[in-house]
Structure formats: C-alpha cells, structure tokens
Amino acid sequence: MAGIVIIGAGHGGVQLAASLRDQGFGGQITLISNEADWPYHKPPLSKSYMQTQEAPLQALRGARFFDDKQINLRLGAAVSSIDRAAQTVTFADGATLGYDTLVLATGTTARRLAVPGADLAGVFHLRTAEDARAMRSALGGVRRVAVIGGGFIGLEAAAMLAARGLSVEVLETAPRLLGRAVSRAVADAVGEYLVRQGVKIHCSSAVSQLVGQKQVNTVQLEDGQKIAADMVVVGIGAVPEITLAQAAGLDCDNGIVTNSLLATSDRAIYALGDCVAYPQAQLGRMARLESVQNATDQARALARTLTGTPTPYDTLPWFWSDIGTLKLQIAGLSHDADEAITVHRDDGTLQSVWCLAKGRLVAVETLNSPGEHMLARRLIADGLTLDRAVMASGDMMRLKAAYSVAR
C-alpha cells in the first residue's frame, strides 16, 4: 500500500493531510516539502515576521500533530520527476517513492524581476521563509527601500518597513495600485493610508534597471528618474509552480488544469491550491486563485473526494491583507462586477465597496470593518442581494436586520 503522496507542505498540503485523517483515511500519508523549514504560515512573512529580528516563523501545526496523525513529513526533499506509468516520484538524490494517489500542492514561485542589475546584492524577492530570513538579516543599516510592485505583498512590506522607521518608495508599473485585485476606490484608499505612513508612491513607473557596484544603490525608471535605495524588495506577482506537472505531461494552462474535483488529466493525480486552474464556481469559468482560503478549503473538499465522497469544490472565496493597521478584507470575486456601491464613514474615509454584477451581489471589499466582511460572506454564499439603500448604509444593525429577513 503506497498510500497518498502530497508534494508541497504549505497551507494546502498540510490541511489535506490533516483532513484526510479527519475523514478517516487509514493509509499511509507522505507530505513532501522541498523547504528545510518546518511548515509555516506564509502571510506573516511580509508582516509580523519582519517587525523584529527575533520573531519566529509561525508553525502551521506542531510536531506532535504530525506524529499523532501518522503523517510522514519529509522536509528538504526535492522531487525531481514523476513517473506516471510506474506511479512513483523520484527525489533529487535518486530515491523513489510509490504512490496510489499523488497530490500536487506545489504553490507558486515569486515572479523574478527581469531587468539589468536584478541580481545585485540588496535585491530581495519575498515568497518563502528563506527569502524572508535573508531580507530580514540584511535590514540592519538599511535606510532607504524601494519596493517594486504595488500588489498585496509589496504594500504589506512597504507598510511594515515604514513602521520600522525606514524611508520607503513604492514603484508600480500600472497607473494604480493593487492591479485588478480590488476596486479603484479601495486601491486609492490604501494608497492614501500608505502616504500618511510616510510611504512615497509612484504609479505608471516602470523600472528599467537597478544600478550599483556589487550592492544596489539606485533604481532607474524608464522615464529617466532615479530613486536612491540601499535595499530593493520585489513583489511583482507569482507564477504557478508547474515544472513537475509539465514534465510529466499533465495538462497545464495558467496552472495545473483540474476539473471541479481537483483531478488532473491523470486519474491518479490531483492538485490543489495556488498552482491549480480549475472551473471556478462563482465565475463559471476556469480560474486560478492565490489565497490561503482557496488552498485550505480545496484541501477539505479533496479529502472527502479521496475518501469516497466525491465533493466538487465550490466554496465562496475570501481574502485578506493587513497593510500596517489597515485590514483589507474581500468576500467573493469582483471580476465580473459592473456596479459598485461605495460606503464612507462620517469622517470621509472609505469603509467598504459592494460590488454587483447584473444587479446581483458578487463581492464586498471592506477596510477595517470586519463585521461587515463576515456578513457579506454569508450574504454572497447564500446568494442574497439586499436593498441598495441598506447596502449603501454600511450600518451593521440595518444590514443584520435585512439579512435575517432575507435568509
């Protein structure tokens, strides 16, 4: 009995191992990580992990958990190939391991900056604990940081570095922050918050090269502007880690392609998490999402499927980003929205944006309004759209009352 082999011990891989035991799976489970670090929470890497030099990694689960659940955790073990005919994986050291079912939970890798000088010392990409450790240990003596990329990781890092007293400038190629992840109103509010924290933001600013002898000292923009920096943090997105899947001949298209049961084009191989392109239930088309929620809820669904209860994955997506003291929360997907209802507080700050598509509520973005976010998750999951005036009020009493009537 070769059991279930999971490649990748991030949020999704670890949750799958846990959920398989919760579902009563009694066979062998092997969880393989190419990282040497004990499986850890990724979101804090760009936040609390950077706040002090001593902050530890936050373990996903302690050692006792893996022992009690008889999960064979293999750290620092890189899989180099999959033999689909023999149903084995081969490690970099040549050893092989058989599987009955293989699950690819390989996640993403940081998109690398491809300009001259990107390999200079002082340039950091931020994805893994190893990346974060290297960046943190280089922070001593740094005064000016250029953050390339105005997405979630870049902005979280910018807020954290500014809070450490550093001079921070954000360089974003697009005309606005946060790309298509959030509405324009939320992106602008986040930008205004960062400016109040002392962060300088340059949109429509493409980087042409990084300059320095061995150590970076200047970021040069395409328009000729030069930004002095003794550290550069690159956060320009992530690419799905599909090397193994592609080499094994599995269908890949912006990720490892699966059906709604997370099955790949090989009936013995499944995939989950950031690396997967799957038929997204709320959008009604193929999509790939990068989030903790997507990975862990897919893991729960897949654990049921692999223990005899085929369970299509259709959970409502949600996301969050802690940018300094600003808590941005997103319920649902706004890709198809054609109407936005913005809610402001009495002091004029943005509280939330309610996104509708053809009159139906599809997503709600909130800033420091956790109750509204939680209610929105319920509303969207239940397929409910409230009266526009109630949504526009942003008032929890009115929202809760309307929800209890509508449900």
Partner: protein, 105 residues
Amino acid sequence: MAKITFIQPDGSPLIVDAQPGDSVMVAATAAGVDGIAAECGGSCMCATCHCLVETGPIGALPEMEDAERDTLEFTAEQMQPASRLTCQITVSEALDGLVLRVVGR
C-alpha cells in the same frame, strides 16, 4: 508559563505550557492540539480556532471585541455562549488552569 488544557475533538485532553504574550491559538497549534486549524494565522478571519470555555479562571479572559463576535456569529459552527476564538485571547499567567473544549469541524 500558563498551563491550558484543551479537550480535543476525540475527547482526549492535552495540557499545553503556554507562553505569556502568545495567543492561545499559537500555543495550541505549536503544541499540536487537534481540531485547531487556525488557517488565517490569527487574523480573525476563519473561525477555525473556535473553542468553548469550560472551566478555570474565566474571569481573567479578555472581553470579546466586535470583530471576534461577528466572526463567530457569521462563520463558526455552533456558536454558543461559551464560544471564543483562541487567536483573540492573549496568554497571561492569570490564565493558568484554563480548560477549553475544541469545537473543530
């Protein structure tokens, strides 16, 4: 240190030496308590660190804030009067002897 007992979903107790300053959730996951997934890492987003307060120094627990109440109300399974999200409780010496029942899911 504060000794906190977690009654796991299978009924077995696990006594954890919790470090003051950590959240109760961090103490539980580091010790490998079963049934606490804590997938959001302590951001009060997922309600997968839901426990019921059973016995011990209940008066020493911090007051529940709106974010925790709303998260419990709208996302947790079986919210009860004794429900708490352990990511929102900071360990202190005063919590020594606390007994929590893991809700799990």
